[in-house]
Symmetry: C2
Subunit: 384 residues, 2 copies
């Protein structure tokens, strides 16, 4: 399936939750499949930290450019683009096409940098709703996302209940725990205290705070994986054993070094960190992790999640993964309970998978089967 990125410009200001507003911004998006005559088969996909509007398919002439959820979305896939019109949209503040910190602030004529306004999950949903207005899509058959994308899907059902028939919330949570905020904060501090960050205005200095981005990504990788899968993939194996530089089984090929790579897990993390620091924007990292921290729909209901979710009228599919310790199954169960308290239709699957939080992006037959069955139900409902 070949897809092409598109862009939509918005001149009128978007009021943000912080009280600030943003104007003259663009949203990058992609679509696959065909919108039906009744305009009733649209599915919006919301992305998480390190993803974009490029959800599925690949770009012409670039067969390796598959979208980040290509296992999930496409012709004949669980979210079947032969039946559904799928929209991927890149969020405000991202570094993958929509207006973000590296773009020009129309109020100053300068690059936004650290002055890009703080955006929240709710702001992203508002921006996405405007895009749908332009596309003349009144009601979504479904809104779907994993992790931070799941928070957006949930928020859609609260901010625009009349516009969403189904919310598909995967590996997500009603808010972050203190531990999750803590990991985000360490990653942010690594970026902000990198001398190349220059208070967020590093573009003018023609440098990139790569040290900080590397550390942030390494922390991310540890928390996306489970202890089990790390032990299986890397265990305590030495890098020298992998490269063939040495393979003495009695540990005599230890190199006794504090700064060089000794274990395979170290090599993997450094590689992931280096790669990420080449393409990800540091200000975007701060913005997106802050949106994660802030999301908490129950806050203005005194922490009562059941009250907070009373506004939702959609039906829901929730999925969690047994070894996901960053967005643990118990957090999804909190959502299930709050929805059931409101007598909403809820399907919930807890998938026994070894891959931790990453599982939501991976191929797992039971997981994909659950989503496939749910979307078949949505398709039947739309046809009836």
């Amino acid at each position: 399936m070949i897809v092409s990125p598109q862009s939509m410009s918005f001149s009128e200001p978007l009021a943000l939750q912080s009280g600030a507003s943003i104007r003259d911004y663009a949203l990058a998006f992609e679509t696959c499949g065909t919108l039906n005559a009744g305009r009733s088969n649209a599915v919006l996909i919301c992305h998480a930290l390190n993803a974009s509007h490029h959800v599925a398919g690949s770009y012409a002439g670039r067969p390796d450019s598959q979208g980040w959820w290509d296992t999930m979305i496409g012709p004949g896939k669980p979210v079947d683009t032969d039946r559904f019109f799928v929209i991927g949209v890149n969020n405000l503040g991202s570094c993958f096409g929509s207006t973000g910190p590296m773009h020009i602030n129309p109020d100053t004529g300068q690059v936004y940098g650290a002055d890009f306004p703080v955006v929240t999950v709710e702001d992203w949903v508002d921006a996405q709703a405007r895009l749908l207005d332009r596309l003349e899509i009144g009601t979504l058959a479904a809104v779907m996302g994993g992790s931070l994308g799941g928070m957006q899907a949930l928020s859609w059902t609260l901010q625009y209940p009349q516009r969403v028939r189904h919310g598909v919330v995967i590996a997500s949570a009603p808010n972050l725990t203190a531990e999750n905020i803590a990991f985000n904060e360490v990653a942010r501090r690594a970026i902000v205290t990198d001398p190349d960050f220059h208070g967020g205005n590093f573009y003018q200095h023609a440098v990139v705070p790569k040290r900080g981005l590397r550390i942030a990504r390494m922390i991310g990788h540890i928390t996306y994986l489970s202890d089990d899968v790390m032990n299986e993939k890397f265990g305590r194996r030495l890098r020298s054993a992998a490269t063939g530089a040495g393979d003495a089984p009695d540990g005599t090929d230890l190199r006794y070094t504090t700064q060089d790579v000794e274990f395979q897990i170290e090599s993997y993390l450094r590689y992931q960190g280096d790669k990420f620091s080449e393409y990800f924007d540091a200000n975007t990292y701060l913005l997106i992790t802050r949106a994660l921290d802030y999301f908490d729909p129950a806050l203005r209901y005194g922490g009562d999640l059941s009250k907070a979710l009373a506004r939702a009228t959609a039906a829901f599919l929730l999925v969690s993964f047994s070894t996901d310790w960053r967005f643990a199954p118990r957090r999804s169960r909190e959502l299930v309970k709050a929805l059931l308290d409101n007598r909403r239709g809820v399907s919930y699957a807890e998938i026994d998978a070894p891959h931790g939080h990453d599982a939501f992006l991976l191929e797992d037959e039971r997981y994909l089967g659950v989503v496939r069955a749910y979307f078949e139900r949505i398709a039947k409902e739309a046809a009836s």
Copy 2:
């Protein structure tokens, strides 16, 4: 109880596991209690990452200077200094008194810096054994430690089985998992890539890689605590609510900032990181985390822990804590199983405590009770 630090110098070279050796080094140590006539009531305490020889009591005129295990050790305490002669020793490579990276290398006349040799748990135990030789203590009533200190206690029973009657191994593991190595590696990268690290030779530049040390400590704190205790202590509470700058319950006192402190957990972590960066040596951090990574007594037995522990002749007390995800109870159970495979005497307690890995340093009646009962048994045995 008033204690005083002492120092013992060693001129003869100590051969290290890496093949290197170190000479003209000093070990800082402290003792409390009285060595009995039979020299049979000595208990050696091994320390973990951020601790020292100052295990209990306080320094004259400084009532706030309690040792790091003062809840555990002292007159009438679980490790009763009215009965036992307790020795705390600071490890080689530390920054709290024993010879370390900030001292002069006798071979070059320069500060060691990054050239301080890589030391392992086994090397520390060898150095401790030499100290005991000088103190004319042939056999220890017990060797005891938590976390990395527990690894040393275990290693004592393997390297000097005839010199240890009891091994007390708390919140420890037979080796680190890939996830633990990964956290250590991120912390090390934060330090090494700090421009003020200067390849480990920052002393000559009169700077300290504080940015890296802060990040390292923040990561450490997250992993020492449990998700539960973090949620209880900090939850999603805002800093403004704590300072009284605002207390609107509906979240309208959010400040919408990516670089400033918003949540209490952030404030806590920054404080801990700042404090640590004021006193801890960066090269020591690298050395100690590497010693953790390398420890793996089963390695030269093809990963067979039961075979590896066959050398031990001591009796053992092992303790783990239910919410410790860094040195999880299942890791202690691996040790228990391997010791039982060898028909060793083993007492094991799994304490249901909310505090994560930190629990081994905290006051918990059941935990302290278990240790007290075990040391009463040791005392009776010594008397009979």
